[in-house]
Every structure is written in C-alpha cells, then in structure tokens.
C-alpha cells in the first residue's frame, strides 16, 4: 500500500446481511472498485460514485457514501486543492476532467425571478388556450417585399432564406460520436425526430446508421474536420462551424487512440487507434474574414439551402465577436456558456476560462440590437441549462432557443460522476466499449428524452400562460418580465433587468 496514494472520496458499503454474493456489482463496476473474493470487496479509492452498483444490485445491498475521512481543516488548503496537487504529483500532467465546471460559481439563473399576471392582464390557461412554442432558426431578411398578385391579392415577393423549424425552443447540444456512444447519438436523434427538434452531431462526424435522421441533425464542422464530406453536409438540417466550446474556450479536442475503434475510425476518417486531435484554432481561420470564407464555402457547397451557424464559447468579448460573426454571414450564433459540458477538458481551462451564459447572452443580444442586426440572425444559448425556467430566463434575456447537453445525458442515466474523459462510463453513455454500450437501451433512452422535452415544453407553456402570453417569441428579449434578487447594480445592468420590487 502506497502511503502517498490519494485518499478515497467515497466509501462503498456492502450490507453483508443482504448480499447474496451474486457478483453482479463487480461485473457492473467499470472502474474496478468492487471484486468478488469470499465476500464482495470494495476498493474505495477507485469508486467514483457513479452508482451503477447501487442501481443494479438485486438485493439493494450496496450504499455509496461520502468518505468520512477527516481532512484537517484549513481555510486556504481545501480538500480540492490537496487532492489536485496529489494527482499532479503522481502524474506530472495537466488535470483532465469531464462534464462542466465542478466549481460552485454563482449561478445567475438562481438570482432571477419571472413575472406573473394579476388582474390587469389575465393569465392564460395553457390547458384551454393554444400556446405556441414553435421557433425558427436561420437568417431573416431586413424586410419583406410585397407585390400585387394576378388575382388582385397581395403576394410575397421576397424569397426567404432557409430556416429550420423547431416545435419547441429546446435543442440537443453538440456531443460527438466518439465522446458519446452510438447508442447515445441514436437516442438523441430519435427523440429529436419524434419531438420536432434537432440534435447536433458534434465534431466527430456521423455514423452511417445516423444518416436517416439528417433532417433533425445539425452537423458540426470543427477544427479537426473529422467526418466532414459532401454527403455529411448535404444530409443535415443545418451546419455549425465550431469555433469554441464553453467548457474549454481556446482549447482544441483530444480523443485518445484507445477510443478510436474501427467504427470511430471510419466515421472520423482517421486510422484506427490513432489519437484524434482537434487543433485549438481552425488552421484556415486566423481572423474574422477567414471565418466568413468558410461560412460561404459551406453555403456554396450546400447551394444556400441550409442555415450555417457559428458556435463560440462565451468569452469576455463575446458581444463584439458575435457582431462580427453576423457580419461575416452566419445565419445564427450558438453561444456556449462556461458551465457547458465536455467529454474531456483540462480542468484548469474548464474551471477558470470564459463567462456564464446569462451575462453572455444578455451582452450579445444588447450588442446586436444596438447595431440593429439582432433580428437578422438566430441566437442559441447553451451551457448549464438545467430546467425549463432556465430556458425561459435565457429566452427572456435574448435567446431564440437553447441547447442542452448534460441535462439530456442525465435524463438517460448520467450520474454526473465526471469520468467522461476516462471512456469507462458505466451507464453506456460516454464510452466506446461494447460491453458498456450495451447497457444503454436506445428505445428506453429515446422515451426518456422525449419525456424530458415534453415535460419542459409543458412547463414552458405554463410559464408563458402565467405571463399572459401565448407565443414564445413574445418572451424573447422581454427582460421587463424578469427581476433580479440579491444582485448588485452592475450585474443587473449587464443583464438589463430591474431588481425585485423595482
């Protein structure tokens, strides 16, 4: 036993009175924290609290608890810093982690309240009255032209640019095949198709079996250009150029060679077993005019039939960058806040770079309005959207729609154990191992995702009804219906909202 080894975070307790020694837990634990000897033996140091053993034990005999080990209290050297230093002292590497930042920065959503109607403007009952969530994503012309038609009526002369129709303003954010399993990709695509929204391929291309879902997929073109070919562009509903990601702004991607299976190799168009490296910048984009060239190259390739979106991480200067992106010709911007998830990112970047989605979307919406170009493009916001009220608040701050990633994964089993980067996901989500992938049943996952979309959509209708409105676009940018609680003046100004009572 190495006395310098890192002390365990969790403690696995097996109730020997209940345990029948079936060994299921040992099979289920992909992290090797339990093995069967004459009894079930747990290695606490390996436990990540993914709860797979707890959930699958037929006897309900297992409990995972926070390890009671006392860390001598210290105001500066919290347990987290001690653990991080031990990890680095052992490996000499940058710390790598999955999901969004694990640090508890203030979440502004939790300091924003939504208005409701009383007397002077009646609330609307969504059970009795129509309530519209339909949202369009794409470019809008600056005006419409009408001409007198043959029969004397008025006809539209303007030809509208391509727009994708969403039945609800909730989309699935980019998660690549490679980071997540094919089963996860399929469940996302299935439920997007069933509920009239879109999923996003992420930067790893599309497996051949995903082609049929094209009309409900936004395909991503990222710096590695993995899986990008004419077929991929043509089958999609829209194309997204990925510049950055909220969890790791300014950082590329790295899919370890072990995860590059034959199927991944075929999809990504790289040799099996080699690392898939997405460079930090696109090597053909070193300025805004370069971005414009790629936007128009993709539009030319798809004959101007698909919206081309640009995804950026929410960084300090996000407003000005967004303005440039609109002027570069993008039809929509995806802003990913720094609480956004990741399959793998250096923790130092994930936990310290970028800004949250709430001030980012407010700043972008403001800036585009000041320049009179807000209504020409769509804004999709993502990065730590946890519930329907977060969706409503994001739209009221200025977004057209949102994208959810972690929330969707939680719906299909993710326990937020933050081990995505290990490829050992015990729930079959963030892994390529066949024996683990088998654990995710596509039909069950599809149903659960449909349910999540339904539940949030119903709640959005309730929110709209309480606000006395029956269409989602009336909430868009309607900041007067938000109030801040416990926020300082400056933050209120940035968000463009008044304090509660004001």
């Amino acid at each position: 036993m190495n006395p310098l080894g890192i002390p365990p975070e969790f403690h696995v307790v097996v109730d020997i009175d209940r345990c029948q020694l079936c060994g299921r837990c040992a099979q289920e634990c992909s992290f090797g924290a339990i093995r069967k000897t004459e009894r079930m033996e747990a290695d606490d140091r390996k436990c990540v609290a993914c709860q797979r053993c707890v959930a699958t034990c037929p006897q309900g005999a297992i409990m995972v608890e926070k390890h009671p080990l006392a860390f001598a209290p210290h105001g500066t050297w919290s347990e987290k810093f001690r653990r991080d230093i031990w990890r680095q002292a052992e490996t000499g590497r940058a710390l790598l982690g999955g999901t969004g930042t694990a640090l508890s920065y203030p979440t502004l959503f939790d300091h924003i309240l939504i208005d409701s109607c009383q007397v002077t403007n009646p609330p609307i009952d969504p059970l009795r009255e129509p309530m519209e969530l339909r949202t369009y994503i794409g470019r809008r012309p600056r005006g419409l032209e009408f001409v007198e038609g043959d029969l004397g009526g008025i006809e539209l002369k303007t030809v509208l640019p391509p727009n994708i129709e969403l039945k609800t303003p909730i989309t699935f954010g980019a998660m690549s095949y490679g980071a997540v399993s094919l089963e996860t990709h399929k469940a996302l695509a299935n439920s997007a198709q069933e509920r009239g929204t879109v999923m996003n391929s992420g930067e790893g291309g599309l497996h051949a079996e995903m082609r049929e879902y094209g009309p409900n997929i936004i395909v991503q073109v990222a710096s590695g250009r993995f899986g990008v070919n004419m077929d991929y562009l043509k089958l999609a509903a829209a194309i997204e150029i990925k510049i950055g990601q909220g969890a790791k702004p300014g950082i590329g991607g790295h899919l370890i060679g072990e995860k590059v299976t034959d199927a991944i190799s075929e999809t990504r168009m790289i040799p099996t077993g080699t690392d898939a490296i997405s460079p930090a910048p696109h090597h053909d984009i070193y300025s805004i005019e370069d971005l414009s060239q790629l936007i128009y190259a993709l539009k030319e390739a798809t004959e101007y039939r698909k919206p081309v979106l640009v995804k950026i991480a929410a960084v300090h200067n996000v407003a000005a960058i967004s303005s440039g992106i609109v002027r570069a010709g993008a039809d929509g911007i995806v802003i990913d806040g720094f609480r956004g998830g990741t399959g793998a990112a250096p923790e130092v970047i994930r936990d310290h770079h970028g800004i949250p989605i709430e001030p980012a979307i407010a700043a972008v919406d403001d800036r585009l309005r000041k320049e009179g170009i807000r209504d020409e493009v769509s804004l999709i916001a993502s990065g730590g959207i946890r519930c329907s009220s977060d969706v409503a608040k994001t739209i009221a701050l200025g977004a057209d729609a949102v994208a959810i990633g972690t929330a969707a994964l939680i719906a299909i089993g993710c326990r937020v154990c933050k081990q995505c980067h290990t490829g050992l996901c015990a729930w079959g989500i963030c892994t390529q191992k066949p024996e683990l992938r088998r654990r995710l049943d596509v039909n069950t996952a599809t149903n659960r995702l449909c349910n999540l979309l339904d539940a949030w959509s119903i709640e959005l209708k309730e929110i709209l009804g309480a606000l006395g409105m029956n269409a989602i676009e009336s909430l868009r940018g309607n900041r007067d219906r938000l109030r801040g609680i416990g926020l300082d003046h400056t933050t209120l100004d940035v968000l463009g909202i008044k304090p509660a009572g004001g």
Partner: protein
C-alpha cells in the same frame, strides 16, 4: 401628497414604470369623408361610463384643420413657460412654423391643466445643406427628440390635418375642456381610462399618436419589452411609459418604413396561430407565415382591443383585438359610416339602428377605408 405633473413624469421616466389600465374605446369613421361633429364621439364614450375612473380621456379627430392640410399639426403638452420656450426654440430651429397658438380650452373644467399649444409646421427643404428626402422621418425624429430631450414637454400628436386632445378627467370633462363639439372630423377616436396605479397624468392619456397614426387601447401588452426593444433598433424611443405608444410606432414602422400593406401590418400585430396556417398554400398564408417569421416581435401579446386611426397613406379606421380576444370589441355599419367600440351601447347611442352589427373575431382586423383614396 399632491404630485405635480412634472414630478410624475420625472418619476415615471426614472423608474421606467408603465401604467396598467382598463379602458373604454370608441371610433367613428365616415368613408365618404363626411364631417362628423365631435359631440357624437363624446356621446359614444359617455355611454360606457363604468369603464372609466376619471383619470384620463382623450380624442383624435381627422380632417379638423382644413385650413392647414399640408402642415404637420404639432399638439404639445407643456409643464410651464420654460418648457414652452425650449420647445419653441427647438421647433423654430428645425422647422418652418406657419402658425402657433394656444389650443382653445375652457380652462376651468379640468383641474391643474398644463400649457397646451399647437404649432402648424412644415419641414425645411434641407438640413445641414442636405435635402430632406423623407419629411415624415424628419418629423418622427423631431418628436422623439422633443419627448426625450425637452423637459416638461410631450408631443400629443404630430400628423397632418389631425389632432389629439387629451387630459385627466372623464371623457365628458375632457370634451368640455377642449370644446370637442366645435371640431368636425371624418374620423374620430375616443378613449376613457381606468388606470390602476397612478394618479393619472396628461401625457399618459390616450390616444397616442405619431404622424398620422393614432391609437386608443384597452388592455395591456404583456410582450411590451420585447416589442419596445425591437422598435428601438429602428430609432423609435418609447418615452411615454405606456404600452400604447408602441402600437402607433409599430404601425408606422411596418406600414410606412417597411412598406407592408396596412391589413398585413395589422395581422403582424396579431398573427394567426401557426396551426391555422398549417397546410395552407394560398398567397395570403405564405405572406402571413413570412411576416411572423421575419417580424416575431411585432406581435403584441396580452389582452388588448385597439382602434387605430390613420391618414398616413389614405384615410382609414381599424379595430383589432389580441389573438384570443381577451378584451371586448364590437363593430357596426350604418350607411357609409363604420363604428367600433368596446361595448354595443356606445354604438347604439350614436347610430340608432345599425345596418349590421357584429363581434369581430379574435385577431382579425376590422378595416374601414375612405373611398377614392389609396392605401
């Protein structure tokens, strides 16, 4: 504690609050342009007395200044001599004033009236050495500048051959104050207020106007901030702290600036539900879909019934409710006259037996267009 009108304005502007009201609205339009005495619109409003609480009323008359048909008639509410002087300076520095006069009033019928002035003006040929190609926009900008830049000054109306008369009181009091019965108009709008959270101030009464657009409104626009922030991108500044002013600006923007036909512009304010358009391939359905897609924040959401008057591009009166008709609106025809009001009693009190009387469907505009004039 009594609060002066100026303090109320300053308070409203600094806190950015909006005044929520319930109200009664009425409009009469002669499509042949026959001149209707102001006593009739007053009578229509008087029939709906329980809809008001005496904290605001007003009228808009079209065709009331036949001697100055080509002049913009600028009606001003002014706190004091100082604001009058500053407003006068701004006007004489930017336009040609053809005539300036007090708006005639019987001053003892309403409490604490502000100064009321009207200017008949024409825009100059050029400004800063450049010709003015769009005089309407020049006037719009001037109105925005006066409302936001001149302390104690509100522009009641700014259209040609029309004017708004409004104040704090019941509709009958306001009619007496301005001697509304002395004016003859081919189109009248009238309004009585029931504001819920303020003592009422002159600038906050209806109608609201910009250029030839006037709006009387019963309701509350729940989507207000989405609409306001949309309009601000195009230079409109919502200064009067009520929902209604933005209705006038929205129509000005859609119809005059964007060139959208009037009926479609009304449809943009209360667009049909998506489901209604599903599967429809008519030219109109295509147009309605495109309008909602391109102008999502032109939609006014929340309970409203409004009557719009315009002589901006032809003479017309329009009645419109929100998409699920949460506020009442009735329309009637008799001969060449169209009547629109919150309640049937208002219509019957002034037209006797109408040829037809109906409840307009939710979101479907009732449009009365003057014959022989383009729209």
């Amino acid at each position: 504690m009594l609060v002066s009108p100026r303090e109320r304005k300053e308070d409203a502007l600094s806190r950015g609050f909006r005044i929520h009201d319930g109200c009664g609205v009425a409009g009469i339009h002669s499509e042949k342009g026959r001149r209707i005495p102001g006593s009739r619109i007053r009578k229509a409003l008087d029939a709906m007395l329980p809809r008001y609480n005496g904290l605001g009323a007003g009228y808009a008359g079209y065709g009331i200044y036949p001697r100055y048909p080509d002049c913009y008639a600028i009606h001003l509410i002014l706190d004091d001599e100082d604001s009058l002087r500053k407003a006068g300076e701004l006007l004489s520095g930017s336009v040609n004033i053809q005539r300036e006069e007090e708006i005639p009033t019987r001053s003892r019928t309403l409490e604490d009236p502000p100064l009321l002035r009207r200017f008949f003006i024409k825009p100059p040929e050029q400004t800063r050495g450049l010709p003015i190609v769009d005089p309407d926009s020049y006037i719009t900008n001037l109105v925005m500048a006066m409302n936001s830049g001149v302390k104690g000054c509100f522009v009641m109306s700014s259209g040609k051959n029309m004017g708004v008369f409004k104040g704090v009181g019941y509709p009958g009091d306001v009619a007496d104050f301005y001697s509304i019965e002395d004016y003859q108009a081919s189109l009248w709008l009238g309004h009585g207020r029931f504001p819920t959270n303020s003592p009422g101030w002159w600038g906050g009464a209806h109608p609201f106007n910009i250029l030839g657009w006037s709006v009387v409104h019963n309701g509350e626009i729940s989507s207000y901030d989405a609409n306001r922030r949309f309009l601000e991108q195009y230079g409109y500044r919502c200064m009067l702290q009520t929902d209604t002013e933005l209705v006038a600006y929205m129509l000005d923007f859609l119809n005059r600036k964007q060139g959208m036909p009037l009926e479609l512009a009304c449809r943009a304010l209360a667009p049909p539900f998506w489901d209604k358009l599903e599967g429809m391939t008519t030219a109109q359905a295509e147009a309605l879909r495109a309008i909602r897609l391109v102008y999502p924040n032109a939609m006014l959401n929340g309970p409203f019934s409004i009557i719009i008057g315009t002589n901006q591009n032809g003479n017309a009166m329009i009645g419109l409710t929100d998409r699920i008709k949460l506020r009442p609106l009735v329309a009637a025809r008799r001969g060449e006259e169209t009547y629109i009001a919150s309640e049937e009693c208002a219509i019957r009190s002034v037209c006797g037996q109408p040829d037809e009387l109906w409840m307009p469907r939710a979101g479907e505009p009732v449009i009365s267009i003057a014959t022989g004039e383009p729209l």
